[in-house]
Amino acid sequence: MGNWFTENGPLLGLALLDGIASAALIFMVAVGLNLVFGVLRVLNVAHGSLFAIGAYAAASVGFFAASAGLPAWASLPALLFAAMLVGLVLGPLIERLLLRRIYDEEPVLQLLVTFALFMILEDAQKLVWGVQPVSFSTPVSLMGTVDVPFGTDVIPYNTYQVILLPAVAVVTLVGLAIFLRRTLTGRVILAVTMDREAATAMGIDARKVFLLTFTFGAMLAALGGALSTPTSSLVPGIGASTIVLSFAVVATAGLGQIEGAALTALMIGIGRSIAVTFYPELEVVVPYIIMVAVLLVRPQGLFGVVETRRV
């Protein structure tokens, strides 16, 4: 075992670096889904569509900024702007027009409403952006690479992926934690997450909280998409594969738990990159193995609170 580590230590180090970079993106998408689920108790399948639309919108805004003659550094705020735009437009629209009508329904109906929305948005996105892969990699080129030593060799990494993405994820995590625990709005959201009935009984306007949270969640989804744009080409179907992974994160993390989402994202990201390095065959099933293992030990998820049924 010690031998194995001395031999493969450097490789393991590289895998950790890759894992952290991919965990950052996984976290960005999953945390929004988890937040929305915690407050609205609606498992939003259309979160994947918001991710995809955010990604495409980021590319469009980026191209527009470039064609308008803005300097290359403007591509970074362009990503953020695109995500805000998507979240602020689509979030309230979806919440007001659709979700609001179904809060009192059974969970399966709520889930299917978002599933239907997902199907509609999937085709709508095709109508707007077509089916040819779209890519916008200016931010990655802009930020260049950092060389990581590996034995006598060096491995170049994208600064964007190993520095900026994890930094954004950490800022989001810390910012969210402070927002939820220290500000009044945040505490209200937290109160609704923990006990909706008690919170409404205390006079909290749940509808307002729902609207706010959903819009916020939509922005996080779109931001996740926007942040993935510089490193990957956008094609139809990216929303579908994103949402399955995010579901696994939510169930593993525990409902509404942002720290849980962060830890799960890290486990999945690092687990996958270690798998790619040492057991490539396992890469695909890593998230599910982690989820099943966690739920075997902790049936309520990593950070889930056991809901005591009052009798």
């Binding site: 890759d18 894992g19 089916v131 139809p236 594969s241 990159s273 390095t277 490539p280």
Partner: protein
């Protein structure tokens, strides 16, 4: 907006129920008369990741159908197209195939981009006795595992499409010792690797495979894989990936200078060249699943190729990529077969069986060369492979030092199993590879 939508839907439903009520036997076995239109069913990807190929295929089909109809149709009859999306799965596809054959009464089916779809459709076409043209799918299994009377492929298959790049690599950069592969984790990715590995073991024994990476189909990030490849420094990296995944892989590899460490062999990259722009550096090997390239060095009919390229660019605002050429080949073969069958039938409209009988041995024009369909139904298509170069004329990498592999060099002989045939190859095969042609100015 909603009103016309509802109207079309309602009429469509009405038409559908009309056909439910109409006894199907009315027009079943009537003597073959010249129909008012020649109906072609086309199965292609209209949603999901593979629509990267499916939609250009459809665009080409619509463009070609319009051209044919302007010129008076096939055998004097205008063609009409029916499209089916392959994405929802085999049960939907097979149902639609039946509907088109039994209800819409299409005259011929152009089946499938996905090999799985082809493997499901081909036997069905045979059972329904309907001519099925395999227009794009790559699996070599179809004609090697069974004989068909109604199914024909108007392009090559996976074996020449992978063998040609390998031979090209051996001819142009013979000194490689280590190889890594990164393919999509699905049938094509696995099959193409098996073909490459088998051929390489026969043609260049002793080459070491240092990594076999098969990321999930639809993956959007290859950072961990790129890291692994950077650390391993293989001489050659093979990837038969395509679409968004190939674009992503090329960009991520380029950003992290992987192209400086290894020679890439990308047998499908012709379809990504325009999109990835100058991200793809010079000096790497690119293929196009056949004999297609808008800057083809020796087209049989330069005017025809140029017209095809320009018409397609006007329509789709992009250079044509291999599925559009494959679609053109399918149409061209159908026209030729139809003419041949009519001639054999004394100028009368051919039956399904007569049309099918015209395909074996058929010769037809592709946009770049003259092609033939072998007796077993397999199309014989040359393979064009080249090395990337950056020029001032195009904002993206183009091919240079192109080799056009003749089909008889790289295609498995009829009646043989590809893997078994590849095992019999010998290293001196590389001496029979034609010399490279440089790109014209």
């Amino acid at each position: 907006m909603p009103l016309p939508f509802q109207l079309t839907r309602r009429t469509a439903l009405a038409a559908g129920f009309g056909s439910v009520l109409l006894p199907a036997s009315l027009s079943a076995q009537a003597p073959v008369q010249r129909p008012s239109e020649l109906k072609i069913g086309v199965t292609t990807f209209l949603s999901g990741p593979a629509s990267v190929f499916g939609v250009p295929g459809r665009n080409a089909a619509e463009m070609l159908a319009e051209e044919i109809n302007r010129e008076g149709g096939i055998g004097g009859v205008p063609v009409r197209l029916f499209f089916v999306d392959e994405a929802p799965g085999i049960d939907h596809l097979v149902g639609e195939f039946r509907r088109l054959v039994q209800n819409e009464r299409v005259d011929v089916m152009f089946a499938s981009i996905s090999s799985g779809s082809c493997l499901a459709c081909t036997p069905l076409g045979e059972e329904l006795r309907k001519v099925t043209v395999l227009w794009d799918c790559g699996t070599q299994r179809i004609f090697e595992e069974r004989r068909y009377q109604y199914a024909f492929r108007t392009q090559a298959n996976a074996t020449p499409e992978i063998l040609a790049p390998l031979l090209y690599l051996m001819k142009t950069k013979p000194d490689f010792r280590t190889v890594a592969v990164l393919n999509q984790d699905y049938a094509w990715g696995r099959d193409s690797w098996e073909i490459w590995k088998t051929a390489m073991d026969a043609l260049k024994p002793g080459t070491r495979v240092v990594a076999e990476l098969f990321p999930r189909f639809g993956a959007t990030d290859f950072s961990a894989e790129v890291t692994r490849l950077l650390a391993l420094r293989p001489d050659v990296i093979l990837s038969t990936s395509w679409g968004g995944e190939l674009d992503t892989f090329i960009r991520q590899a380029a950003e992290r200078r992987l192209f400086e460490r290894s020679t890439f062999v990308l047998p499908l990259a012709e379809s990504s060249l325009e999109r990835v722009g100058r991200s793809l550096p010079a000096g790497h090997i690119v293929g196009s699943r056949g004999d297609h390239w808008h800057q083809h060095p020796r087209p049989a009919n330069p005017q025809a190729l140029q017209r095809f390229v320009e018409n397609y660019r006007r329509r789709a605002d992009a250079y044509p990529i291999y599925p559009t050429y494959h679609m053109a080949q399918a149409f061209s073969a159908l026209r030729a077969a139809h003419a041949k069958a009519m001639q054999a039938n004394g100028g009368n409209w051919p039956s399904d069986a007569q049309l099918a009988a015209a395909f074996p041995g058929l010769e037809f024009d592709s946009p770049t060369s003259r092609m033939r369909i072998r007796e077993d139904g397999q199309g014989l298509e040359p393979q064009l492979i080249g090395t990337t170069v950056h020029t001032d004329r195009f904002p993206f990498a183009v091919m240079d030092k192109m080799v056009i592999f003749p089909p008889d060099l790289v295609t498995t002989p009829a009646g043989q199993n590809s893997v078994a045939w590849l095992r019999t190859l010998t290293p001196d095969m590389v001496n029979r590879v034609p010399d490279p042609i440089s790109a014209a100015g």
